[in-house]
């Protein structure tokens, strides 16, 4: 009987052969925390009697969730993070550097075959580059800082076979929303998603990141693109055991939406065409990358954001912002009427600017539309691709891309 990627990598990092359902103590290659989770991580580390962080060069803290700090309380918590980083010689990305998950990949912190624990649920994004990466809480991460280790239950695996190629103006975001609709918000709870097939192999790193990012929205522990697994010994065996298998033909994917207030409440853009919007957001660890800004700029170039619509754009990192400027994307977005926010999480989690008003309909490229997620529980958030967000910003309503793009 063969093994899945999750079984192989956890066996390797624990030094014992384990299979799904077993518990293993693993060596953690890389640890990450953000300004939301690092203060409690530091507190837990100290309460555990921690003096020196075990693997400082591979411990990364990122100040991205509420930055620039909106008030003194948050500013002081961020200062606490900076002081700890200095004292322990850790890696820090500060205000304006970008979103943690973007930086971890862009700056090369994550390598194929790494086992990564991050105190942020979207840590699963790094499956795009062949890591086993999963989110944990602050106390778990404090324990990683102290011991360099953690305990993991070896997850069962679900195989997601992707074939075909996405049509023009249909994106990886539409594909992952279709998957969430099919698997549901808890259809993959505790499981590892293995994305494979020729369709998956052809997707760019950016597209893979968008898809792996949303593995958690189906309840998964992690999601990995098997094409990104470099170590032959970690590739899943042909006779590995899966608890389920799904097939998606990318050529059949339509522009999709997740309607309020649940990611699996999906509909086609066609079905919701005409819905009037007040705010549009382009950004986040799901869709704030150069390819996302490029497609939005292409759609908005020479046009204007519809009256009554606020378009917010937050590039995923400083590098993304600089490159988007070099290619004139940012200028085109600004001319069209967009408000550019500093690289970071922006309005995604409702901790900073861009809080919608009561009754606002928001279309957003983020990954979560829970009630209250963007800071107002009386707003209605639709999740969509950068194409659909840009089109809605121009028309002031949800519409298929053909209405704007000839």
């Amino acid at each position: 009987m063969g093994y899945t990627f999750a079984e192989k990598i956890i066996s390797k990092k624990s030094g014992c052969q384990v299979s799904a359902g077993e518990i293993a103590i693993v060596q953690v290659d890389l640890a990450m925390a953000t300004d939301t989770t690092a203060p409690l991580t530091i507190q837990a580390f100290k309460e555990m009697g921690g003096v020196l962080v075990k693997k400082p060069a591979r411990t990364v803290f990122v100040i991205d969730h509420a930055t620039p700090a909106p008030n003194e309380k948050i500013s002081n918590l961020q200062q606490l993070i900076r002081n700890f980083v200095l004292e322990q010689n850790l890696v820090l990305y500060d205000q304006g550097d970008g979103i943690c998950h973007q930086l971890m990949v862009e700056e090369g912190h994550v390598r194929s075959g790494d086992l990564v624990l991050g105190a942020d649920s979207h840590t699963c994004t790094y499956g795009a580059v062949g890591a086993l990466a999963t989110g944990v809480g602050s106390t778990d991460l404090g324990a990683v800082l102290l011991t360099g280790k953690s305990w993991l239950r070896v997850p069962e695996s679900i195989k997601i076979v992707l074939t075909g190629e996405l049509n023009r103006y249909v994106t990886a975001k539409d594909a992952v929303l279709a998957m969430a609709g099919k698997l549901t918000a808890d259809g993959a709870t505790y499981a590892s998603l293995e994305f494979c097939g020729d369709g998956a192999a052809k997707l760019s790193i950016d597209d893979r990141m968008t898809i792996a990012n949303m593995a958690i929205e189906m309840g998964a522990k992690n999601g990995v693109f098997t094409a990104a697994i470099e170590d032959e010994d970690l590739k899943p065996d042909p006779d590995a055991v899966y608890i389920n298998e799904y097939h998606f033909n990318l050529a059949e994917i339509e522009p999709m939406l997740a309607c309020p207030h649940q990611v699996d409440n999906v509909a086609t853009v066609q079905a919701k065409a005409g819905m009037v919007i007040q705010q549009a957001f382009l950004g986040s660890c799901t869709n704030g990358r150069l390819t996302d800004l490029a497609i939005a700029a292409k759609i908005l170039k020479g046009k204007k954001v519809a009256p009554g619509v606020r378009l917010l754009v937050a590039p995923a990192s400083r590098k993304v912002l600089l490159e988007a400027m070099a290619r004139n994307y940012i200028q085109e977005l600004i001319r069209a009427g967009a408000t550019i926010l500093p690289p970071g999480c922006g309005p995604c989690v409702g901790t900073l600017g861009g809080i919608p008003a009561d009754g606002d309909v928001v279309i957003s490229t983020t990954n979560r539309n829970f009630k209250g997620r963007m800071g107002n529980n009386k707003a209605f958030v639709y999740l969509a691709s950068p194409v659909t967000v840009a089109v809605a910003a121009v028309l002031g309503r949800i519409a298929r891309p053909e209405e704007v793009i000839q």
Binding site: L40, A44, M48, G49, S121, G137, F370, G372, N377
Partner: protein, 161 residues
């Protein structure tokens, strides 16, 4: 581990943003955190619960963010634990790590304000002193962490895994 307290019943998919909104997470003050617990689902939550009460829910409790502020807010509100059909995995770990009890069982027959008594080690939930519902047992490592009172005391004592 046995006690008798009341149930406060909610539905499926109670996510971490509903448990504690992102805007309230930026604090190390637990009383302040707890004062906003469940604010967006039940504005009366913090006034109606008594120390030792239980939250009872359906499927996928705690889905969403990795914020440990979610189980911490529940714990510091005075709630003893959460009984649900299933939990999202990060929430599940976080709750055990901070010493919040979690019970997985079929909650269909539990109604609001029922009296709850939990016997985790024998694996049962008793409703109104009559109905006994079997519940799942914790894995040995989680049981040890919970017995120590959470991951901090666990590692203080052992220094390592």
């Amino acid at each position: 581990m046995s006690s008798i307290n009341k149930a406060h019943v909610y539905g499926d998919d109670i996510n971490t943003d509903l448990i504690i909104a992102g805007k309230y997470t930026k604090t190390l003050n637990m009383a302040e955190l707890a004062s906003h617990c469940f604010e967006d689902i039940d504005a009366n939550f913090t006034t109606k619960i008594k120390p030792g009460d239980w939250i009872v829910a359906g499927r996928n409790f705690g889905c969403g963010s990795s914020r440990e502020q979610a189980p911490l807010a529940i714990k510091h509100s005075g709630i003893q634990g959460v009984i649900a059909k299933s939990f999202a995995r990060i929430f599940y770990r976080n709750a055990i790590n901070v010493g919040l009890l979690l019970v997985v069982c079929n909650t269909d027959q539990i109604t609001d304000l029922d009296e709850i008594s939990v016997d985790l080690f024998n694996g049962s939930v008793i409703i109104n002193k009559k109905l006994k519902i079997p519940c799942e047992k914790l894995s040995p490592i989680m049981q040890q962490i919970l017995e120590e009172g959470g991951l901090v005391p666990y590692l203080c004592k052992r220094g390592d895994f």
